[in-house]
């Protein structure tokens, strides 16, 4: 399989059917999309400027930026913001690094390669609800296998629920377990689309395996890595299901809010406290955080690009 670049306008044949019926073909997608994505998304912005309750949804009071002012002066918001960032880092950075390493190993000619690939994808097939319930038991302070293993190597038991960092690590472990194999396969696909000749050239130049990885594989994978970073960032900013079920379905993120994320806070504001305007302000804040995070990521990647580490269109071996 090779990468397919979209044909440019000039390459397109002018004898292809020019037809009005094309609008009918794309209409269902745009109808679904306008009704269930764009409209709710914009309406959330509108709601965020009002005082709104579930029972009196249509009689809202204009607040201007009141909800945002309220939100940013609220310690719960900053707690959730901090937790979202720290859990995001703990759950994605090791995950993507491990995925890269695993993909590199799977790219060798291995016996039983299909088995390994299917095996590392099993967590992806497990739903986040099932995975969280399972890990909740594994991390249980008294019955859990994790504390038993710690005991085995003479380490003290850890309170994986009550203390901030252990709880955040446990929640991050669930995310990492589910997504590492998936990302490894994405990287593996990227690795396999790198031109073989580059490896041959590197071999001729006497590059060892590490140098090949560093100077051929990594530059060739840069677009794929950027893609996974963007997708993981978006996922991390919205983290919800794992911390919800980790506290038995309660959106408080632990008794002290030690792992309450922005997603949970929004749910709590909207559905537990019936403050839909405030919840919508949180939603838009999350969205803006995502936009900023993605822009920062892509800008950083571009800047490194300009330094000449990689041009994905004309990769060169640099040793």
């Amino acid at each position: 399989m090779t990468t397919i670049s979209p044909p440019t306008r000039a390459q397109r044949s002018h004898r292809l059917p020019g037809s009005r019926i094309a609008y009918a073909y794309v209409a269902p997608f745009f109808a679904v999309f306008l009704a269930f994505s764009i409209y709710p998304w914009l309406d959330t912005a509108w709601v965020s400027l009002h005082e709104v309750r579930l029972s009196t949804y249509d009689q809202s009071t204009w607040l201007g930026l009141g909800n945002y002012v309220n939100l940013f002066s609220n310690p719960f918001f900053w707690n959730a913001f901090r937790n979202t960032v720290t859990i995001g880092v703990i759950s994605t950075v090791p995950q993507l690094c491990m995925a890269l390493g695993i993909a590199h190993l799977l790219n060798y000619r291995l016996r039983g390669r299909t088995f390994f690939r299917v095996a590392i994808l099993m967590p992806y097939a497990t739903s986040l609800a099932a995975a969280t319930v399972i890990f909740l038991e594994l991390f249980d302070s008294k019955l859990g296998l994790v504390n038993w293993a710690l005991h085995l190597v003479h380490l003290p038991a850890v309170d994986w629920q009550g203390s901030r960092w252990p709880a955040q690590i446990a929640v991050s472990t669930i995310v990492t377990w589910r997504w590492t194999g998936y990302n490894a396969l994405i990287y593996l696909a990227g690795m396999q689309s790198i031109d073989t000749e580059l490896y041959d050239a590197a071999l001729v130049d006497g590059a060892n395996r590490w140098q090949q990885f560093r100077h051929v594989t990594l530059p060739g994978l840069r677009p794929t890595i950027l893609f996974t970073i963007v997708v993981s960032t978006i996922g991390a900013a919205q983290l919800f299901g794992e911390p919800l079920l980790y506290h038995n379905g309660m959106p408080d993120g632990g008794t002290q809010g030690q792992y309450q994320t922005l997603g949970l806070l929004m749910y709590q504001q909207g559905w537990t406290n019936d403050r839909l305007g405030l919840a919508s302000a949180t939603a838009w804040t999350v969205f803006l955080v995502i936009v900023v995070a993605v822009l920062v990521n892509t800008t950083l990647a571009r800047r490194r690009d300009r330094q000449g580490t990689l041009s994905s269109l004309a990769p060169k071996v640099r040793l």
Binding site: I21, F116, M122, S127, V133, I134
Partner: protein, 276 residues
Amino acid sequence: MRPGSQQGGSRLTYVIVAVVAIVSIFPLYYTVVMASHTNAEMAAARPPLLPTTDFFANVKAALALAPLNKGLVNSVIVATLVTAGTVALCTLAGFAFAKLRFRGSGLLLALCIGTMMVPLQMGVIPLYMLMARIGLAGHLAAVILPTLCTAFGVFFMRQYIAAAVPDELIEAGWVDGASPTRLFLSVVVPAARPAMAVLAMLTFLTAWNDFFWPIIVLSSQNPTVQVSFQSLATGYAPQQSVIMAGTLYGTVPVLVVFAVLGRQIVGGIMQGAVKG
């Protein structure tokens, strides 16, 4: 051959890959063990490593506690309809973007790609109110409709059709007087079948495992299987074994599908990564 693949793996490579595979599978296996032992047995100095037949009794207890069977049936309905709708509508739109000329197609495609990044979560409150207003809150349709067609699917199918169906074939058919619909059914669909299968598998898994929106819009009386897990975790199960048994019961169908189609799903994800 493939880059890197001329080189065989060292012994260390096998060891590391095997450890990764074990870490991936072990929690699932251990769920069976946890589902067959009481809290007291699990708290023992040496926790059990093998399952017992108590597992089946615990599944029965879990079924009494949470509407798992109803959840499974609902999940099959939701995932099947979402998959059928997504594959059909995305292939159709992908064909239009790949092979038909129409005013504004570039702009519309850019809009489609640009919005792949707007998460559904952003608009849950108005979306919920919308569903409540049209009387769909609590109904499966509320889960099915918003995901009936995805930007990713449209883009994925467009990329595949652009490459897999030669322009000449479309032109020839068009010159011979075949309508676009005719071309779609007899030229595009047969050629796009592999990509449709990939999209179907990915969509089914995503729909089956979807959690955030279903838990908001569905009630525990009419849940998908993911939502019914919550009744297990928040219900007052005296024994963790019952929770584990129920979780496993609701997960087994997708794991079986995965064991059978795993190879194809792996191929699909890797194909999607390069194309998408």
